[in-house]
């Protein structure tokens, strides 16, 4: 094993572990849905792990991200805890948003996650605003805006890319092209090329294999460093694939996506299997070590689910709290009660 690989072994294993954690989280979340224990629906990140992990490994807790409806992977990769995430998915008081946000709105300030978003493309402005803050306040953090291929249809992104380019903001627009927006293949709704769209604003654009965590990490590390030197913004298009349906309830999907296609991606391009093989072939880890990581995380996830299932719901009194900063209860306040 070459020396730099040995030096990086810790980072490699961390990335492997994080990808396995995301997969385990999603498998458990899906099971909660199937067992009718989860309120509402949720969107699985399985298959796309290398994107979130490769990028977030290049970031520090100071760096910010904005996330999407398919956001569990981003949140975990940025450092969130399984337990508190499951609590949020189940609407429990201990969840990241005290049960008020749920799957599509998880935010984790301690690790720089400004929040998932249920409006497709809705966080492009927020990410760019966070980058403006970094610049004006003289802070050296980078903001990564995660979004899907479908979100590139939203006009907001073009407006903010223009301003980010004009103002040289430290933001990276990371488009996870998983080939579909809901039940529609990307090529039916995207004219021209996505990288060319960014380039039209003189934003440097890259295309990366989103199933290759090292390639993703290499690109993100370079671009994050260059952002810190004032060379941003940047655009990355990451080719990837979602394993589940659009959401957990999207089970019969033959009409828009074949089982063969799904099987092919899983067999040939699974980011965890392929990276695991690479770790073995490079001698970074043994089979036994990788298996141990898998079972340890499996246990951790199972315990987190148990914990969240038993955790209490928020008290009814919370329903009108947190509507306004600085106001304890919104209802009396809105009727004129003095604070």
């Amino acid at each position: 094993m070459p020396r730099d690989k040995k030096a990086n072994a810790e980072a490699y294993l961390r990335m492997y572990r994080q990808m396995v954690r995301i997969r385990a989280f999603e498998d458990n979340a899906n099971q909660l849905y199937l067992n009718a224990k989860m309120p509402g629906l949720t969107h699985m990140y399985s298959g796309q792990e290398a994107v979130a992990v490769g990028i977030c490994e290049a970031l520090t807790d100071e760096d910010r991200i904005t996330s999407t409806h398919r956001g569990h992977g981003h949140c975990l990769a940025k450092g969130a805890e399984l337990k508190l995430m499951f609590c949020e998915l189940l609407g429990k008081e201990e969840g990241y948003c005290r049960g008020k946000g749920g799957s599509m709105h998880i935010a984790d300030q301690a690790h720089g996650n400004l929040g998932a978003n249920a409006i497709v493309g809705g966080s492009a402005g927020i990410a760019t605003g966070a980058a403006l803050s970094a610049k004006r306040l003289g802070r050296n953090y980078v903001t990564v805006c995660f979004f899907g291929d479908g979100a590139t249809a939203q006009g907001l992104w073009y407006e903010v890319m223009n301003m980010a380019a004009l103002w040289k903001l430290p933001v990276i627009y990371a488009c996870e092209n998983n080939g579909y927006s809901e039940y529609t293949p990307t090529d039916e709704v995207v004219a021209g090329s996505l990288t060319a769209r960014a380039e039209a604003f003189a934003i440097e654009a890259h295309q990366v294999d989103g199933q290759d965590v090292l390639a993703v990490n290499k690109c993100a590390t370079e671009l994050a460093e260059r952002c810190r030197r004032g060379e941003g913004p940047f655009f990355i298009e990451l080719e990837t694939y979602r394993y589940h349906g659009h959401h957990v309830g999207d089970i019969n999907r033959d009409y828009y996506r074949s089982k063969e296609e799904e099987a092919r991606w899983k067999a040939d391009r699974d980011p965890i299997i392929n990276f695991g093989r690479w770790l073995l072939s490079e001698g970074v880890a043994t089979k036994e070590e990788l298996a141990a990581i898998g079972s340890e995380i499996g246990d951790e996830a199972a315990a987190a689910v148990e914990y969240a299932l038993a955790a209490p719901y928020p008290d009814a009194i919370e329903v009108d709290m947190h509507v306004f900063k600085g106001v304890e209860h919104a209802l009396p306040y809105m009727s004129g009660a003095r604070q």
Binding site: G99, A153, E182, Y183
Partner: protein, 332 residues
């Protein structure tokens, strides 16, 4: 002849019938064609009418809304599918600054015959950006008509009338009601915009309920009946125009009114209807008019909180009981 069909089927039939009748009618929106929308309401339409008339769009709500406005001004009659009512915020400029005002600003020379179909309704555990009931926003804008079907029967009749209307009409369907069945005639029928329905006759209190709150009012009326209180249930069916005659006629008879709607209560639909009753039937009232809207908070995700934010039959019945028994309103 009538048969029972779901609200979803009723919408599908209305659109299919109108598309057969008038080939200028087109359908535009995200995943409306093959997928038939995430709620499967439009399944089968693309097979009959083809992708030239059932048009899948990118996720670009302001864009396709604007295109629909322009198409409506120049000979087509678009039905725009807005997947969630919460996305109204994205299309507000095209809807309110363009569609709503074109006829007026052109001195009556241009018009915008389009239908915007969208939905409302909480308690689906979808959190704050997928659960809102935003009909008051558009009802506030002169130039837009607003329909609120409360059953499969109304959904079909109102939608057909809306498609034939020469103005922009926004229809809100309750996404929790898509699988609810109701008797619907097999023969063609239209329900004119601006005609409320009295769904249950009563003497002591009028319960006015829009959309799914009509069912809440009907259940409340049953609870009240068991208590020996006679409640009348009125469904306005459309907010613009609002059938004041039917509403005021009922309140003049019962002398008491509760207005129930799933939009936020502050500055909302319940306030507007209550104000009209108070102005125009004041001397017939025995008690203040009560508003019951959704709690004035963003819709919370947690089931433990979300269920607190929407009016329930029990709460409506409790308020009605208090009104009828003369309990002062501040004690409610």
């Amino acid at each position: 002849m009538t048969r029972e069909i779901t609200l979803s089927q009723a919408v599908n039939e209305a659109i299919a019938e109108e598309m057969r009748r008038d080939e200028t009618v087109i359908l535009v929106g995200e995943d409306v064609a093959e997928a038939g929308t995430p709620f499967k309401v439009l399944s089968g339409l693309v097979e009959e009418f083809g992708t030239d008339r059932v048009i899948d769009t990118p996720i670009a709500e302001p864009g396709f809304m604007g295109i629909a406005v322009g198409a409506a001004m120049t000979g087509l009659r678009p039905i725009v599918d807005l997947m969630f009512g919460d996305f109204l915020y994205l299309v507000m400029d095209q809807l309110c600054n363009q569609a709503a005002k074109t006829h007026y600003m052109s001195g009556g020379k241009l018009n915008v015959p389009l239908v915007l179909r969208t939905n409302l309704g909480a308690t689906r555990r979808s959190a704050a950006q997928h659960s809102q009931s935003l009909h008051a926003l558009v009802a506030h804008i002169p130039g837009l008509k607003v329909a609120m079907p409360s059953s499969a029967y109304e959904a079909k009749g109102l939608l057909k009338a809306a498609i034939r209307d020469d103005n922009p009409v926004v229809i809100f369907e309750d996404k929790l009601m898509y699988q609810d069945k109701a008797p619907v005639p097999e023969e063609e029928y239209l329900l004119p915009l601006g005609e409320a329905a009295i769904l249950r006759e009563g003497l002591e209190v009028t319960l006015i309920g829009t959309s799914s709150m009509r069912q809440v009012c009907e259940k409340a009326a049953e609870i009240l009946e068991a208590d020996g209180i006679s409640a009348e249930v009125v469904d306005p069916r459309t907010l613009v125009p609002l059938d004041e005659g039917t509403i005021l006629g009922s309140v003049r008879k019962t002398s008491r009114a509760i207005v129930v709607d799933e939009g936020h209560q502050n500055f909302g639909v319940t306030a507007e209807i209550a104000a009209r009753i108070s102005e125009k039937a004041f001397y017939h009232l025995d008690a203040p008019v009560i508003r019951m809207g959704a709690m004035d908070v963003p819709v919370p995700f947690s089931p433990a909180l979300e269920d607190l934010t929407v009016p329930t039959p029990e709460a409506v019945a409790a308020n009605a009981r208090a009104l009828v028994r003369g309990v002062p309103v501040h004690a409610l």
